[in-house]
Symmetry: C2
Subunit: 146 residues, 2 copies
DNA sequence: AAAAATTATATCGCAAACGATTTAATTGAT
DNA sequence: ATCAATTAAATCGTTTGCGATATAATTTTT
């Protein structure tokens, strides 16, 4: 039995598990909003800066367009965003928030930070632990994204 | 614009991105072995302890059986594992490694630790950083898993 | 300016995740 | 012992994630 191949020694498995569990913790609030976690990510990108081409959203989320395109189209059907062709570059599809999409920011603000705070209240990590964790994760992300 | 809803302030987005990127870093080696990352996780569980029911594997990986069952069946088709009914509890399906599945441990040992070491060599984190990271992730995982 | 290379998005197919439900076997309660 | 509750797997449907490929528009080369 090689130590390197034990599940308990895998940082990757921890990231995978923590990521899934924390996404699951978001789910009750997101269900109340009628969206999924990746859809919430797209909304956060657009709340910060509206009217972005698919590619910029994908780049910001470190995803490929073959993931983002269908996601965007589902969100269009939900009435959260609208699409129009770019006028400078006709290949681009510019994604914009609808009124519904914009209005969701306030609802998310009321639901999600308190909801997640409650969910993580039992976690022994302090503010500075989360800050260091964020830095460590950024190191990994920056090393691995090409 | 609420600070709490900025992408850059989300620990969850960092976990999601780091998890996907590190899984992607495994992919070239796993492709050489002919398996996926979740299949590799199942193999690690079985390399540590062979002949486990589906439920125990799911529990170890913090997954539901509706994820693990199809995964197991794909691995059976690949010839990595075999399934038999439990003799004590006939509801259980016991998962066992085949010779191919057992033999893959050595190949994985030769490919994956050096491959991932190379991929993360440019990452500024030190051994103690990874150890602390592991602890912090364990805190989150233990808080959120019911 | 025409041809070649690049880029933006979309399409296709497959493997995960996961909520919800189903089936069969086991355990617990009366 | 019988009936109800629980448990182990499986099935179904939807959304992601991603490799591979396709299409159309733009940029670069020649």
């Amino acid at each position: 039995m090689h130590e390197e191949l034990k599940l308990d020694n895998q940082i990757c498995f921890r990231l995978y598990s923590a990521s899934r569990l924390i996404t699951q913790a978001y789910t009750p609030m997101l269900t109340e909003l009628g969206i999924t976690y990746p859809q919430y990510l797209v909304l956060m990108v657009l709340w910060e800066k509206d009217n972005q081409p698919v590619n910029d959203i994908a780049h910001r989320l470190i995803l490929e367009t073959n993931t983002v395109t269908p996601l965007i189209h589902r969100m269009e059907k939900l009435g959260l965003i609208s699409l129009r062709q770019g006028d400078k570059d006709k290949r681009q599809h510019i994604v914009s928030l609808t009124q519904t999409g914009k209005a969701m920011e306030e609802k998310a603000f009321e639901l999600i930070p308190p909801g997640m705070g409650g969910r993580l209240a039992a976690c022994p990590l302090q503010l500075e632990d989360y800050q260091r964790l964020a830095q460590e994760l950024d190191s990994i992300i920056n090393t691995l994204k090409k």
